[in-house]
Symmetry: C2
Subunit: 115 residues, 2 copies
Amino acid sequence: MSKSESDAATCCAPLNGPPMAEDEAVELAAVFKALADPVRLRLLNLIASAAGGEACVCDLTGPFEVSAPTISHHLKVLRQAGLIKGERRGTWVYYRLVPEALTRMSGLLALPVPA
Amino acid sequence: MSKSESDAATCCAPLNGPPMAEDEAVELAAVFKALADPVRLRLLNLIASAAGGEACVCDLTGPFEVSAPTISHHLKVLRQAGLIKGERRGTWVYYRLVPEALTRMSGLLALPVPA
């Protein structure tokens, strides 16, 4: 089991679960901050919906009206938050989601909707 | 069906779904921004886990080492993002989650984890 899988398994308490520790709240808030940008959300959407779940950085700049360095910055923020990972192959870097990280955040916000 | 229920029903596309519109990304990013604060996450946790799913504002200042006006500010941000709603009864305001709003954000981040 990888570290991220282990983290996801041990840290998926929903909001209506036990009291959230202060350091856990700080860590979760940092991930939400990475998600709190429209360009980064659309980048995640592009990566998640790419064929094979993987997108070349060369395909991620076209859809946006911002410069390539700005896209690189946003990808770095997502990578540092643990939401995506990149792999260099030849000239290009290829990005895919880290599903455990997204599942963790999804689980935090998942609540039973009252009937 | 209430407006928020209707919104939740029509807007729960996951990240690996169809292309995210620019205005939808802006709107979702604003909600993530409201979530991107440790005190606000702990407030949501306190409200979600309160008896009956409802917390008196009088019980929400004690657990934090910040002033009551600061807590009020954070509650206002959560309310404006549509994540909680408040109801005044007598002296106090009572807060509860808006489950449809949290379910929408949870659904956005929910991805099948590959085996």
